[in-house]
């Protein structure tokens, strides 16, 4: 018997996940093709900005998937606190971890895009502030989990922290918004684009289609990563169960 068929026997998720992996790989190729080749040029931009705006498709893809990851973690946390089942906790943890990876994607693509358009890598725009703080909160969440050994204590404390952190995110957004409206934006041209108005309003047909394609592709990638991590956590938990049984 080959190792592959052994694995397939032991784990019913083996084939579906493999299929999802292949799909995710193809989806990334499609996303690059759509973002770089299929989408037509923006009508109101020229030069560096024209090339740079194509990163928007990947920026938006990361943005949507990170948001999905963090929403999954909140649902998982509430689920754990209500049902007290570690199944929910593993969903929350996988959501946070995969969401944070895409969060770094938002930061990186955003900074690369901001340099040619806003003439700075960084500005304390409300969205930037909120995204940064959210990612910091979830990094803290992961560190916090590491500091506890008992699985149920860890799940309970991590869920409580996730809830508290989730409450504070809108406050960060609103304070950052007032913060900006009192202080004028230093860099020219940052204002209109910082609000995102012209992006939603002024996309052409191919740009809208490309956006749809890349977001779908990123969601497939997210699902692949999420299920891998979730399955890994389930296996880890099973090992832990067996170990507890062994030592009792």
């Amino acid at each position: 018997m080959t190792t592959t068929s052994l694995r397939r026997k032991a784990d019913p998720w083996y084939m579906p996940l493999l299929t999802l992996d292949v799909l995710a790989g193809l989806a990334m190729i499609v996303a690059v093709w759509a973002g770089l080749l299929y989408a037509k040029e923006a009508a109101n931009l020229a030069g560096d900005e024209q090339i740079a705006q194509r990163i928007f498709y990947f920026h938006m893809g990361c943005n949507i998937t990170a948001t999905i990851g963090f929403l999954i973690s909140v649902i998982g946390s509430i689920g754990y606190l209500v049902r007290r089942s570690l199944v929910w906790d593993r969903i929350a943890q996988a959501g946070v971890e995969v969401g944070t990876i895409f969060g770094f994607g938002i930061m990186t693509t955003g900074a690369i895009w901001a340099k040619p358009t806003w003439n700075t890598y960084w500005t304390w725009d409300p969205r930037l502030t909120t995204a940064t703080i959210t990612i910091l909160i979830y990094l803290a969440y992961m560190l916090f989990r590491n500091g506890m050994d008992n699985r149920h204590t860890r799940a309970r404390f991590a869920s409580i922290y996730a809830l508290f952190a989730f409450i504070s995110v809108p406050f960060t957004y609103y304070s950052a918004r007032i913060f900006r409206s009192i202080h004028p934006v230093v860099f020219d041209g940052a204002n209109a684009e910082a609000q995102g108005g012209d992006i939603v309003g002024g996309v052409g047909a191919t740009m809208g289609q490309t956006l749809g394609i890349t977001i779908t592709c990123f969601i497939i990638l997210f699902l692949a990563l999420f299920f891998h991590r979730w399955r890994q956590l389930n296996l880890e938990s099973r090992i832990e169960d067996l170990r507890e049984e062994l030592y009792q």
Partner: protein, 246 residues
């Protein structure tokens, strides 16, 4: 000794005193707070450390910014709030850390009161220490930076901000008390959640120092007040979950 003779020895069995309405609840909160304050008056390890650290930090910032910034009022709001946050961490993690070190937390949790009464008692003592710290810091800031922070709106903002900070800080101190490396874990958890309070506090203080009209700054006070109320309610609801496994 059988359990019957034991309970005979102790008199009537201990009951959870959960009834009694708001007045009884406040009495329990005060009992926990008074215990903390009494321990602090005898040991002098938390508030004194916070205050000395705070004053030291003002002097360090004074050395750092002296002659480097054109007008010291430009940096004082940031200095004030950074020191409150950092000095606060020192006291907050001791509020449950000391109970863990002396192995008195189980005893405290066995007291026949609601867990939320323990939380609010700790919150009251932490608030007292933070207010003491600020009371000592403001005159030194006035001397060091020649900036007068005794403005009613700044003081109100400081009060609301400190309240929100103590609420979330005491809660997270209870969360981290049982983890490894709790001293370093608490700031990592707490500071990102405190960003709105920090931004609102700094902007409010800076606005007043810049001489802006108070009417344009009320939104900061509203953010601080709403933050306080929401986290007060959230802590009251969720705090029971922290200790339900112990």
């Amino acid at each position: 000794m059988s359990s019957d003779s034991l309970s005979g020895l102790l008199g009537r069995p201990v009951q959870m005193r959960t009834g009694g309405g708001a007045k009884a609840f406040l009495r329990k909160v005060w009992a926990v707070a008074a215990k903390d304050i009494r321990a602090e008056l005898r040991a002098k390890e938390v508030a004194s450390t916070m205050i000395v650290f705070g004053l030291l930090a003002v002097i360090i910032f004074g050395l750092a910014f002296d002659l480097r910034v054109p007008k010291s009022a430009m940096v004082v709001p940031g200095i004030l709030w950074v020191i409150v946050l950092f000095a606060g961490i020192l006291g907050l993690h001791r509020s449950f850390g000391a109970e863990i070190d002396r192995e008195t937390l189980p005893g405290l949790l066995l007291a026949p009161v609601e867990p939320s009464a323990i939380y609010f008692g700790k919150l009251a003592s932490n608030l007292l220490y933070l207010f003491l710290l600020e009371f000592c810091m403001l005159p030194l800031l006035l001397v060091m930076f020649d900036t007068n922070l005794y403005h009613p709106v700044i003081l109100l903002g400081l009060f609301l901000g400190t309240l929100g900070y103590a609420e979330v800080g005491t809660f997270f101190a209870a969360l981290t008390a049982n983890t490894r490396a709790r001293e370093s874990m608490l700031p990592v958890l707490l500071l990102p959640v405190m960003v709105p309070v920090f931004m609102a506090g700094v902007s409010l203080t800076a606005g007043i120092l810049d001489g802006r009209p108070v009417s344009g700054l009320t939104s900061w006070l509203v953010i601080l007040a709403v933050f306080d109320v929401i986290f007060f309610v959230a802590a009251y609801w969720i705090v029971d979950l922290i200790w339900d496994g112990i």
